[in-house]
Symmetry: C2
Subunit: 248 residues, 2 copies
Amino acid sequence: MSHQRDRASTRNAQTGPSGLDLPDLPEATVARLPEYLRALHGLAETGLDVVSSEELAGAAGVNSAKLRKDLSYLRSSGTRGVGYDVASLIAKIEYVLGLSQHRTVALVGVGNLGHALAGYAGFESRGFHIAALFDADPRRVGERIGGLRVHHVDELPLVVAQERISIAVIATPAQAAQSVADALVACGVTSILNFAPKVLNVPDNVDVRKVDLAIELQILSFHEHRKASLTALPSTLGGVLGQEAYGS
Amino acid sequence: MSHQRDRASTRNAQTGPSGLDLPDLPEATVARLPEYLRALHGLAETGLDVVSSEELAGAAGVNSAKLRKDLSYLRSSGTRGVGYDVASLIAKIEYVLGLSQHRTVALVGVGNLGHALAGYAGFESRGFHIAALFDADPRRVGERIGGLRVHHVDELPLVVAQERISIAVIATPAQAAQSVADALVACGVTSILNFAPKVLNVPDNVDVRKVDLAIELQILSFHEHRKASLTALPSTLGGVLGQEAYGS
DNA sequence: CACGATTTGTGCATGCCTTCACAAATGCCT
DNA sequence: AGGCATTTGTGAAGGCATGCACAAATCGTG
Ligand SMILES: NC(=O)c1ccc[n+]([C@@H]2O[C@H](COP(=O)([O-])OP(=O)(O)OC[C@H]3O[C@@H](n4cnc5c(N)ncnc54)[C@H](O)[C@@H]3O)[C@@H](O)[C@H]2O)c1
Ligand SMILES: NC(=O)c1ccc[n+]([C@@H]2O[C@H](COP(=O)([O-])OP(=O)(O)OC[C@H]3O[C@@H](n4cnc5c(N)ncnc54)[C@H](O)[C@@H]3O)[C@@H](O)[C@H]2O)c1
């Protein structure tokens, strides 16, 4: 689990003894469900209450067959000849993603990036509540950001338990990231979103996802490099390959 | 191209007429090269000058066979029985990623998040130079951030041309993202990193990568939900499945 | 009630990615 | 010089993911 994708499927489809009845989802599907959810919320705002796989796929930027297959894993409730009921599909995806009630999130490292994250309204509207902020710098402790007081990182165990926090965001410098992760794991946190450019070592039952902006830019850079070498081709061939019509 | 992964391989292995000699890289490999590069820089700082695939894979958090196969696409220069020369491997990866000289980047939308990005030192050290900032809000135009003046977004064409910008970052609200993307494309920008939660519509020759933090959290939430339903199991079974040893 | 238009759900083929396992190559040590 | 330990580079197999293409289901209409 510590790596992004370990096993593709998560759990057997049968109704578990816990009664939670979670279907068996390929990891690639899990990664797309949030995209569908966002697209659905957008469509719901326009007043639409039924949507076809073609429309929704368009809004989410994926192939419609892929979308249908993804939704079929959710014991899909589409109606042939009609489409999907927007409201109930939203509810179903939110349930599967565990968003039926807001999840509380801790944010560790209230620096440059942490400030932006702490003040970001988009999390609340998408199922998350930032419940606590932490920093190691005494000058930052006590500061109030968006209605929250910054705690010292030593208070992690106490606050994490009090607020029933299960997900944490690390926005500290890379050199501090591993020790912060260790502290989080010791408090019982089992999901971490890591912004520090450092591979974290965590137990198998803890999930880590990373966001590294430099990596994203470097991937873009690769394609730029490639495109540059193509457009440097003798003219016609480069022109034909490089320029095509719009549309997905 | 506009979608994250379209075709797996990029270009034929033969030396192109342009003489640039870019190998044929699977997209999955391209996405990992930056990770290797970061790990290598870390190792280089410790004074190491030769590294085995096992060590490097550990530092990058991947399987060593995968690492070796990835590097083999680069006409790899490892030495059997010894390992890879750190300095020359860094140079090779940087070349392939198009980082041999710094790339200039434009940042559009200097709000909450944009401020953090503009002030981030990590980009410079990893091959990028933020050369220009843009915003539509007249109150922000003229403001100086980290030595850069904020331009009005109308000046995009002029500045993009002057600074030879090929990559742009969008950090505007979602509703403005598409029009900003259109403007960027019109200026000749061919790579976009998008932070706005909105699917962008761009020509085929433009690459878009998106970063959506809420999506990352929602993926984590899914796994939390799943873990919770497992630990709710009748004891032994749940315990055995849910708890495993450390190590990757 | 029957028919046609529409749209879902999915079997299937194809291709990509990952991982194992091992032969080939290198360097060190005696 | 020869043998041994080490480590790369890669063939091959298996597992996922993708997308086509179509049968099955549903609705509206006459
Ligand atoms: N700023 C950006 O736009 C940006 C972009 C990409 C990646 N990142 C990464 O995000 C992380 C944070 O970046 P930043 O620009 O906000 O850095 P920053 O230095 O502004 O903030 C880091 C914060 O973490 C706190 N901190 C340090 N050690 C700590 C510890 N052990 N426990 C708790 N808090 C601790 C510091 O006091 C500081 O407030 C870095 O790893 C950086 O590489 C930042
Ligand atoms: N703040 C975060 O931590 C965070 C986290 C995740 C995602 N995001 C996303 O990143 C984007 C920016 O977030 P933010 O919090 O910085 O928002 P913000 O409102 O603070 O900043 C947006 C900036 O974009 C500028 N802008 C608006 N329209 C523009 C246009 N047409 N051209 C150029 N500039 C324009 C505004 O003047 C403002 O300065 C949003 O789409 C948000 O959803 C932000």
